[in-house]
């Protein structure tokens, strides 16, 4: 059984978020197509999205979603300040990190779990920057990227949501994260869809 809206609100009580990070791999584009339209116009939080895209190819995800969402969608640029209410995508071929001054930085370090950009890299650096103010969502995928990142976010007091493996196109990544950390919530995509707009509602 999955929690209703009131139960989810109760879980979020007392929390004040400053950013959302969403990671996904195999099946992730479909999951984001289902999930991101939950973001309402005027959404306050920056949303940092990272999907594994086959190497060498330019990611067109920002363009794809910019037409569909009521908030600005952009590819994250090196040294750029993270703006509120904007959806960012990690580009291909470079790791994406968040600095403590809440700017983006890119790097060419070796792939993590064969992935560059790696979800762990973005999640761990975001946890350092936002601490308990970070909400993280891990979606479908065929590898183990994101498990360390989610555990690290949890350890820094952040809020973690993993897609229900039974609901995921490829369950490996959610299962790996669930085994590695005890997420705050395990939800099917439809419930994450309902949760997403709630993340900005609680004031400090």
């Amino acid at each position: 059984m999955t929690p209703g809206d009131d139960a989810m609100r109760a879980t979020l009580r007392g929390r004040h978020f400053e950013a959302v990070v969403i990671g996904g791999s195999a099946g992730g584009v479909d999951a984001l197509v289902a999930l991101l339209p939950a973001i309402p116009a005027g959404f306050r939080l920056p949303v940092l999205c990272i999907l594994h895209v086959p190497g060498g190819r330019e990611s067109r995800l920002a363009e794809l979603f910019d037409e569909r969402l009521p908030v600005p969608v952009r590819e994250a640029v090196d040294k750029e300040e993270i703006a509120p209410g904007t959806v960012y995508f990690a580009g291909s071929g470079y790791h994406l990190s968040v600095e403590r001054d809440r700017t983006f930085s890119l790097s060419c370090e070796p792939p993590v779990h064969f992935a560059r950009p790696a979800i762990d890299v973005l999640m761990e650096s975001s946890a350092d920057a936002y601490g308990p103010g970070l909400a993280a969502i891990l979606l479908t995928g065929a590898n183990h990227d994101g498990a360390d990142g989610m555990a690290y976010i949890r350890a820094r007091g952040g809020f973690t949501v993993v897609q229900d493996p039974g609901d995921a196109q490829v369950p490996t990544m959610p299962v790996s994260a669930i085994n590695r950390c005890k997420p705050n919530l395990i939800l099917p995509l439809a419930r994450i869809h309902a949760l997403l707009p709630m993340l900005e509602m609680n004031e400090p």
Partner: protein
């Protein structure tokens, strides 16, 4: 802090490197060098230059490949080479050359365009081990398949295997390619300009620097480049946020090739 201590003792300046990536590299060094804490690592590095040299391999990022982003090299061939051909002699600076992959890639392009013989290339880095590897010119053999594909996409006109000899699991590149290359220890953080150059290639180096250091480096490049000289950056690097944004104009926007604006 470790980075401050490294600067004071060894005069390697990582103080204006960005934090998240540097933190990951220090943590990787901690694991590899089997230190419990950063202060333990610091104590060891301060008393043992060999340990410092080991740490340096983590603090710098020797990750590169030949003909990375083939479009960049294609743009050099098509858009920069015609200008370079008008000079009787050329100075080319590969800043942050790491283990030499980009030096050899550029040398191959210049060779195929008939420019290599009149080019003096400066390949600089702060990591002596990387420079030594670059001088040796031996690349892992298993990378040759990807490098060959990159080379072809970059407009290569020969068989890529003409440039190297395979032996003992390595690909030994032709020495003639680096006959006119000076490999030198040079820090973009602390050292100054050393030559007038026509083309500077500095790819995926400045992403590790904060804005202050990026500005310093772009200043160095601006000072070094000749009138209307060329600057090539990494595929996701921008000069938009720097104080030098107006001092360069894009020649190939997507490929990140810029030209010094006449002042």
């Amino acid at each position: 802090m470790l980075i401050e201590a490294v600067y004071l003792k060894y005069n390697y300046d990582f103080r204006d490197y960005t934090g998240a990536s540097q933190k990951r590299r220090v943590l990787a060094a901690l694991r590899a060098m089997e230190c419990e804490t950063i202060s333990a690592l610091q104590a060891r590095v301060m008393h043992d230059p060999a340990a410092f040299s080991q740490l340096l391999q983590f603090l710098t990022i020797p990750v590169t490949e030949m003909f990375r982003d083939p479009d960049y090299y294609l743009a050099i061939r098509r858009l920069v080479v015609p200008f370079l051909k008008t000079y009787p002699s050329l100075n080319v600076w590969v800043a942050g050359c790491s283990t030499g992959e980009e030096v050899f890639s550029l040398a191959i392009v210049l060779h195929e365009e008939g420019l290599l013989e009149r080019t003096q290339m400066y390949a600089t880095d702060i990591n002596a081990d990387s420079l030594e590897a670059a001088r040796r010119g031996v690349m892992p053999l298993e990378k040759m398949r990807v490098y060959t594909e990159n080379y072809q996409k970059a407009g290569g006109t020969r068989a890529f295997s003409d440039y190297y000899t395979a032996a003992y699991g390595g690909a030994l590149f032709d020495r003639a390619l680096i006959e006119n290359v000076t490999f030198a220890d040079h820090s973009l953080a602390t050292d100054s300009v050393f030559a007038e150059t026509h083309f500077i290639s500095c790819r995926n180096v400045m992403i590790y620097f904060n804005r202050r250091l990026q500005n310093r480096v772009l200043g160095l490049f601006h000072d070094s480049l000749c009138h209307r000289g060329f600057l090539g950056l990494g595929s996701k690097e921008s000069i938009d946020f720097s104080t030098y944004a107006q001092r360069f104009e894009p020649l190939a926007k997507r490929e990140r090739i810029f030209r010094k604006v006449a002042s």
